[in-house]
């Protein structure tokens, strides 16, 4: 791999940018790999990268039915934070948070991680108490989070209206300063390039149609639209399609797939310096480096694989945004889209071995897995390489739905993303 650097840019400037090599290749699938990863989103590509980098396993195929990064990775609103309530979640999300810092250097690819801060507003006494409890729990777990008065919140985020006569007055806010955004596509592309460099085959436009198991039940490989590909270890990292793939191996999952929509405005000059979310008004907003306001909705009400959703969900979201930020009421929305998110009963992910020997699953990230990409990929690679979970993801197993040892962020979450 030719490293990206200021010298490379200078050299290519002299040559009219004709010498940039391809970032990844499009190889024909081999007959047999050591590991197959199904799904070339950030979590799948990252898993391949860490398998190669940290576990010396390089004979890997990442099989993708569409184009890499075209799933939820390329559709999300890119909010990064780690202020989850429970100890298990703190361990997992904060592991990722620590990795965001330094990821660009590690991949030699600018993922544009921007620690601009994630602010969660409190509008009533209940919100204030909940936020403070959250902050205390986070700090006991070594997770950054702090309380701001309305004036401090306004100083951090000037467009905020802190008038106490507003319909939803701001009574304070929780701020995670290391939270923020990263460029979603760059995360997929950076992992793809770095994994390719270490010998990983990324096979796009190749849908997995079956998972083959031997007489003793163990995984033998996958049937695809481009033929059978063998491997003794297969990792399913397919977000909204995880149920469908696991069903191919005969495993019924505690998952439901819902549409989740987002939209962006026309680009404008910098106006919004951080991420603001309000669980009570149910809205969140940030501004991309291109200048668009990035706004996300809640899930649609019914399960669907359509990668689209109802218009009324979007208008409802915009109602909430305009309620909180009347200055944006005249902004034009440029485009909207949907992804298919896989939701677990406790709203925590599953990163685990499965009842099928050689089959591993990383799913259930639902509406909020982008933030966890590096950490998730890192511990999932460990799980596959060692056929045993890392201490960080051990609680995120499938068995919790039998034992009742849930990680109930559904009940605890300050907000979905």
């Amino acid at each position: 791999m030719r490293r990206y650097s200021i010298f490379a840019v200078a050299r290519e400037t002299m040559r009219g940018h004709k010498g940039w090599p391809k970032q990844w290749t499009s190889p024909e699938p081999k007959k047999q790999y050591d590991v197959i990863i199904i799904g070339a989103g950030g979590h799948g590509l990252g898993t391949a990268f860490y398998l190669a980098k940290e576990h010396g396993i390089t004979n890997i195929a990442v099989v993708e039915k569409g184009w890499l990064g075209g799933g939820n990775t390329g559709r999300n609103t890119t909010i990064i934070r780690s202020n989850y309530l429970y100890d298990e979640s703190a361990g997992l999300y904060n592991h990722a948070m620590k990795m965001w810092d330094g990821l660009s250097q590690d991949l030699n690819y600018n993922v544009m991680y921007s620690a601009r801060g994630v602010m969660m507003l409190a509008h009533n006494v209940h919100d204030v108490q909940g936020a403070k409890r959250h902050i205390h729990a986070n700090r006991l777990n070594g997770v950054q989070n702090e309380w701001l008065t309305p004036e401090q919140a306004k100083e951090y985020c000037p467009p905020l209206n802190i008038s106490q006569t507003a319909r939803y007055p701001v009574m304070g806010a929780a701020l995670q300063r290391c939270g923020g955004n990263a460029r979603h596509d760059a995360v997929a592309w950076g992992y793809a390039r770095a994994a390719t460099d270490r010998g990983v085959d990324i096979i796009q436009n190749c849908a997995v149609t079956g998972i083959k198991r031997s007489a003793n039940g163990a995984v033998e490989g996958v049937e695809t639209t481009r033929g059978f590909i063998g491997a003794k270890k297969v990792g399913v990292v397919a977000a909204g399609h995880s149920s469908v793939l696991m069903e191919m191996a005969g495993v019924n999952m505690p998952l439901e797939s819902y549409p989740l929509q987002a939209l962006v405005s026309e680009p404008v000059k910098p106006i919004f310096p951080c991420v603001v979310m309000s669980n009570t008004v149910h809205a969140y907003i940030s501004q991309s480096d291109k200048g668009e306001l990035v706004i996300g909705a809640g899930t649609d009400q019914y399960t669907s694989y359509s990668q689209a959703g109802g218009l009324h969900i979007l208008t409802h979201t915009l109602d909430a945004i305009c309620e909180m930020f009347p200055i944006f009421s005249r902004m034009k929305m440029l485009r909207s889209w949907g992804g298919t998110v896989d939701v677990t009963p406790d709203r925590s992910p599953i990163l685990a071995k499965t009842p099928v020997p050689g089959l591993y699953v990383n799913c259930g990230w639902g509406t909020g897995g982008f933030k966890a990409t590096p950490g998730s990929a890192h511990v999932f690679a460990h799980t596959i390489a060692n056929d045993a979970p890392h201490a960080i993801n051990a609680p995120f197993n499938l068995d919790r739905f039998r034992t009742g040892r849930l990680i109930d962020e559904a009940a605890a979450a300050a907000v979905a993303h």
């Binding site: 999952m253 797939s257 009400q301 019914y302 399960t303 669907s304 359509s306 009324h312 739905f401 009742g404």
Partner: protein
Amino acid sequence: MLLIHCPYCDEERPELEFRHAGEAHIERPTDIKSISDEEFMKFFFLRDNPKGVAYERWRHMHGCGRFFNAVRDTVSDKFVMTYEAGKPRPDGDELRAKSKETNQ
């Protein structure tokens, strides 16, 4: 927004009047405290989540208020049919063929 036919009102009404209420034809075990953890997990947490024909419960919240069942294609979101709660689950293959027709 979808148009949904309520089998009780016998009318097609906008989606906003309805609430999705999860997978249909899940039977609550009669003696729930005697079942194993494994069986409880299956009943309470595991879901089919099919890509294609799905059987689900809906409630006509802002109408008659009653629960009914529906067959919907989860790729096109088209309703293949709706039927009254308690009626047997309609045959899958026939419906898959029907949903293909309506998809074209």
